[in-house]
């Protein structure tokens, strides 16, 4: 972990001191924040290319100059994996982009992913000196992270982190999403013999099946997975732990500890009349058909029903991903139906902004009551009710209250229900000793992420019940450290 002593030692390096002196602090604060360049909204809603196109080197250096290289870099405290932010930003200012990428990789396995999908505005950037003290927009830390990671990838000179001597101890990671990949990377760096087991045919979990190409191209995830392979991590796809082989069988094959990062699998539905009509999907199904199975691409066999009038129920990032995907697949009317107001919406501001620009309709303070269908069962209409905001509820958000008599029908041919997920019971069911909460998430020790079974650790959505990529990665790293301690104590190292 990064300590104040290390930070101050780093900050006192001659190159940092020189860089600080090269421009006056007051002049740094006068530099305008660079906006992320993006594809034109009309053009992009007709393609699946990335919306954000990334900083040019000039923009990145300029943006990095805004960073004041604070004595007390509060931004780091806002990062779930404690990236040494000023160090990598100052490397960019220096023009050493590959060096910046190396700094990122010391603590973050997937910088190109995090630079794209982290909610920096509520993490590092919310703790930036500009935000806290100057009442100015924060340094674009996320955009700079993405820049450095992309530069490294495009240069073809991808650095592979140093690995400690192999100790031959086998350890298993269950699930190849962000939590699992982060745990795998750290354990491999410590010298362990790591195998990642994945139930689907592709590695990457939610990064592949969930987040669309226009926000996170699969190619970027693949490059990060290649780096893990170079670290010696093995991947077993088409392998459902608990079924294809049990934890006990894996133990007898020599695996000494396990990390469960299998995500929160089961999509929630509202359980309202007509919800099983044809053309009504969970966001998981809709996005998986398109992102993982290639349903919108020529030559792929998987079909999807995606029509002209598409309603997405919910206000989170997955809802935004779904509605913007529907638009790209040809929807004339793509709308969000959300029971609270714009202010309560859990999606990232950037995603909402992009959606608005792309012509997505927001029907806030509306709630679906039931669906109607044609004789073939294809959904035709949704009956919605208008809502009002009442007193704050347990989540601290104002509770939506139905307005009596306000019901009306909306024509739809496709509906995507995106109201969250519940933990997947498959693995817990095969382990009677594994303690779960009443919501079905796994009970873990907060510091070590150890479950009620001593060689089993867990993190990400199977513990949190629905969170972010970076929090899952933070869990993976924390668990890797705890698994290392556990194995030091319980396994005789060769």
């Amino acid at each position: 972990m990064i300590t104040p002593e290390i930070l101050s030692f780093e900050r006192n390096q001659p190159w940092r001191e020189e860089l600080r002196k090269s421009i006056k602090q007051a002049d740094r604060t006068k530099i305008e924040k660079h906006k992320m360049p993006e594809q034109n909204a009309v053009v992009r809603s007709g393609n699946i290319e990335e919306v954000n196109t990334g900083f040019t080197p000039e923009m990145a250096v300029e943006e990095a100059r805004r960073c004041l290289d604070c004595v007390n870099p509060t931004c780091i405290g806002g990062c779930p994996v404690n990236i040494n932010i000023p160090k990598f930003v100052k490397k960019i200012e220096l023009g050493d982009f590959a060096g910046a990428a190396q700094v990122l990789k010391e603590t973050n396995t997937l910088p190109a992913v995090c630079g794209r999908v982290c909610p920096q505005e509520v993490q590092c950037e919310s703790q930036c000196f500009y935000t806290l003290r100057l009442n100015k927009p924060a340094v674009g830390i996320g955009n700079l992270e993405r820049f450095a990671a992309d530069f490294e990838r495009n240069s073809g000179l991808i650095s592979v982190p140093e690995i400690e001597e192999k100790n031959g101890i086998k350890t298993a990671i269950i699930g190849s999403g962000p939590a699992g990949l982060a745990a795998a990377a750290d354990l491999a760096k410590m010298g362990y013999d790591v195998t990642v087991f994945e139930a689907l045919h592709e590695i990457g979990g939610v990064l592949k099946y969930g987040i669309p190409e226009f926000r996170l191209p699969n190619e970027i995830v693949d490059v990060e997975i290649e780096t893990l392979k170079k670290l010696g991590v093995k991947f077993e796809s088409n392998f459902l732990v608990g079924r294809t082989a049990t934890i006990d069988q894996l133990r007898s094959m020599g695996y000494m500890s396990f990390f469960v990062g299998c995500g929160a699998g089961l999509p929630n539905f509202m359980n309202i009349p007509g919800e099983n009509f044809v053309g009504i999907f969970s966001s998981n199904e809709y996005l998986t058909r398109i992102n993982l199975m290639g349903a919108s691409r020529d030559g792929y066999d998987t079909p999807v029903l995606s029509g002209k009038n598409v309603a997405v129920i919910g206000g989170g990032n997955t809802a935004m991903d779904s509605v913007r995907t529907a638009k790209r697949l040809g929807a004339e009317r793509a709308m969000i139906i959300y029971r609270r107001s714009m202010d309560e919406m859990p999606a990232r501001k950037e995603e909402v902004k992009h959606a608005l620009e792309e012509g997505i309709e927001f029907m806030c303070l509306h709630n679906p009551l039931e669906y109607r269908a044609d004789a073939q069962g294809r959904v035709l209409q949704v009956l919605v009710q208008k809502m009002d905001l009442g007193e704050p509820d347990a989540s601290g958000r104002r509770k939506p209250v139905p307005i009596a008599g306000s019901e009306f029908l909306i024509d739809v041919d496709t509906v995507i229900v995106s109201i969250g997920v519940s933990p997947n019971p498959l693995l817990p069911r095969t382990l009677p000793d594994l303690k779960t909460t009443r919501w079905g998430t796994l009970v873990v020790n907060e510091d070590s992420l150890q479950t009620s079974i001593s060689d089993l650790f867990a993190g990400g959505d199977i513990v949190r019940g629905g969170a972010t990529v970076i929090l899952a990665m933070g869990d993976g790293r924390k668990a890797a450290q705890a698994m290392h301690e556990y194995m030091k104590k319980n396994v005789s190292v060769k």
Binding site: T244, G265, L266, N276, V278, E285, P303, S306, N424
Partner: protein, 279 residues
């Protein structure tokens, strides 16, 4: 990649394949299914495991050429490879001793029925079976079902083999002849609907194994959801077997038809030119 060890046509449209999958062969039980993907651009389709050999490390599937993916699968031969196979999925059949059990299989539904009938027989039940299909050519696994059943009635819609009539006719023959303690019905959704209507009339507890559309098969997508006893269940994690008298078969039929038009278009145009976004 999973190697095809052998392949044999049981009829013009139904074929059996032994696939090398040692871990699945070891773990599988009656009632389990797999998801496979024929090639790297294929869809994920669920298929019940109808047998296996843990020693040889192989599993057996019996498939009817019915859509794009099963047609593609039918083109592969022994020595070829299937891109992805994952399993065993779903819950294994609960096998108890209850007395006389009526096993009714429609068409290719006899394939998933066989391992269940075998397990029920082995547990000590009396097993009486009805095998039904449109015509003689579509009656499969007759020899195996006869080996595991105490009595068998064959029904064909056109009377080309066995008795002429629907599956329910054969079932009723058994029901009127002897006390049936439980029934298992597996086949096309429409067959299961009418078979379970019949057993409801006679108050015979009945289990059906549902064949809904799936994507991941592990609970993640909800494509396979079905209404059972008034609440939504996922066939992949809650099933595939349910109390047939509680299943909303009409809804299942509608959901099974979701991609029929798209599939028909794709079949007309050949396997690689799917129309993607029509309504």
């Amino acid at each position: 990649m999973f190697k095809i060890l052998s392949k044999e046509f049981l009829s013009e449209s139904v074929f059996r394949m032994d696939i090398e999958a040692p871990l699945i062969a070891k773990a599988r039980k009656a009632g389990h299914f797999i998801i496979l993907r024929v090639d790297e651009r294929g869809e994920r389709i669920p298929l019940t495991i109808s047998g296996g050999d843990p020693e040889k490390g192989s599993i057996t599937i019996i498939v009817q050429k019915i859509g794009l993916s099963t047609l593609k699968l039918a083109q592969l031969n022994a020595g070829d490879f299937i891109h992805d196979v994952v399993g065993p999925l779903g819950n294994a059949t609960h096998i108890g001793i209850t007395g006389t059990i009526l096993c009714a299989g429609g068409g290719v539904g006899v394939a998933p029925l066989l391992p269940i009938a075998q397990a029920l027989k082995q547990a000590g039940n009396r097993v009486v079976s009805v095998l039904a299909a449109r015509n003689k050519d579509l009656i499969i696994l007759e020899k195996e079902m006869r080996e595991t059943s105490d009595e068998v009635i064959i029904m064909t819609d056109d009377g080309s083999y066995g008795e002429k009539g629907l599956v329910t006719h054969g079932m009723e023959t058994f029901i009127q002849k002897e006390k049936i303690n439980e029934a298992v019905v597996i086949g096309p959704a429409i067959m299961m609907k009418f078979a379970s209507q019949l057993t409801r009339k006679y108050n015979i507890p009945t289990m059906a194994s549902l064949n809904s559309i799936m994507v991941d098969g592990t609970g993640m997508c909800g494509a396979c959801r079905v209404t059972v006893g008034g609440s939504t269940k996922f066939v992949c994690v809650d099933g595939p077997e349910f109390d047939a008298h509680q299943v909303d078969f009409d809804e299942l039929l509608l959901r099974l038809g979701a991609y029929r038009d798209l599939e028909r278009k794709a079949m007309l145009q050949g396997p690689f030119t799917y129309i993607k976004q029509g309504l």
